[in-house]
Symmetry: C2
Amino acid sequence: MGLILALDFGGTKLTAAVADTAVYHTGELIWQAHKRVYSPADGDAHYDLVTMAALAQELLAGERATAVGVSFGGPADFHTGLVRLSHHVAGWEEMPLQQHLADIFAAPVHIDNDANVAALGEWLFGAGQGVGDLLYITVSTGVGGGWILGGRTYRGHNGMAGEIGHTAVDPDGPLCLCGKQGCVERLASGPYMAADWLAAQHKGAMAITGQEVAALAAQGDEGAARILMRGAWALGVGIGNAANLMNPQRVILGGGVTKAGELWWETVRQTAHQTALPQVQFDIVPAALGDDAPLWGAVALVGNG
Amino acid sequence: MGLILALDFGGTKLTAAVADTAVYHTGELIWQAHKRVYSPADGDAHYDLVTMAALAQELLAGERATAVGVSFGGPADFHTGLVRLSHHVAGWEEMPLQQHLADIFAAPVHIDNDANVAALGEWLFGAGQGVGDLLYITVSTGVGGGWILGGRTYRGHNGMAGEIGHTAVDPDGPLCLCGKQGCVERLASGPYMAADWLAAQHKGAMAITGQEVAALAAQGDEGAARILMRGAWALGVGIGNAANLMNPQRVILGGGVTKAGELWWETVRQTAHQTALPQVQFDIVPAALGDDAPLWGAVALVGNG
């Protein structure tokens, strides 16, 4: 019996929660407390750390955490405990986050990037329960992935496994910031789909989101529907290729773009199964944990790290 | 101290060898004996089994094998010990090969498909020694792969992992027998490259091999060079995609097409590293074990199964 502190450094928001260690036996996650703040636009790593520490201390209310699990929204290394950088907040470069938190909370700390953490959370508490080999993919502002193989997080040689967003599916596709043409992320992520719709409308100065593209498609806008379905196709090819390579039992999709409707899901599923060989068995299901996925995953990381 | 029987059902040839169990300590594989026969065109599974058993008994010369390792050139299931089918020889459908061999040799038998077995062989005895996570790819009459992750064979949910040949890299590419356009195997395997060269020359009735396409390219035939380099490009994209997904430390390439020359290798390497994100670290090296790879792998399978 003890308290697990779960922290989510989400880029634009900071969330902390406290759970009971009984969760590993009951499978039921009962938050003792749960608190979220939004980062100011001019925040930095120091601000985030101090704010998160204050949030957590308030939740713990004088109790001690048995262990701390951390989801970081960017490249973070489980083995070294270092954050490589944040794409959203300044000052995170080579930050020893694990060490800082261990000093603050005087408890063992496990950190990992949000895709690996979400994969672990879905595996232990969500849509991947009982599944030995799975690929979790978030389709949101970017497209990222995390592997659970043989019931453990698989991170690869230097911690870069899971980058399905930058697998290439069309050599004649549009150019991605990564320098390649036709990456899954370039075609299937929200901001890129929004940018492509705006470019097609010659509305360069406007700003819309991937969700709005999906809404436009649902309202019958043909250009929006074409862009959305091209994204679903690209993601489907990426998933089918991953299935041929790794034959996971299940692929779990989370993130805002997965709310784009039934036709989007059908296109992803159909393309993925057409791309995979007929003998390669897998299914594609929605994530179960929603916005709290990183926190559930952080709790799972403590039990599985 | 004991004898390991290594068997290679290679489709068109049957090979048996006997090694000393000391190999696992010394790392040096000293064949006690080694024998190969070529299957007749009208052979079947029964012929292959009887012939292989006779070969092995002759090699064993009355001694008993401590264990038997088997490489099968086609879909074979490590866990059930069943051969699913052979693409070359009739009568293999759902054959309980492991059970038949256990009955014949009264010893524990491990079977697996040739790509997984070769990956294991390269890992224990060849170009992958000391590498925790690797992808072995054979580029030959087909393009197949095998994974070693965390020092063990990774087979996937229903034993289909490693099918890099049927990952798709160009939606506008030529049609593969698998039903998709622009698979790695459709573009990079020997027979498909040969067929494309013949089609471009309007020489439908001739028969040439992938090696001859490579030889023509080396002699300055521009059409042959274009086809060969397109194959190298496709394989490079497939490897780069696999690297983004799994971040293996090393990719090992074996098979006849890898003898196509330095420009082919350069194109594969350059394309793979351009496709992978810059942070994804891996190298691409030639296989070390040559034609005996399945036998070395069969010995490794006994020690690692």
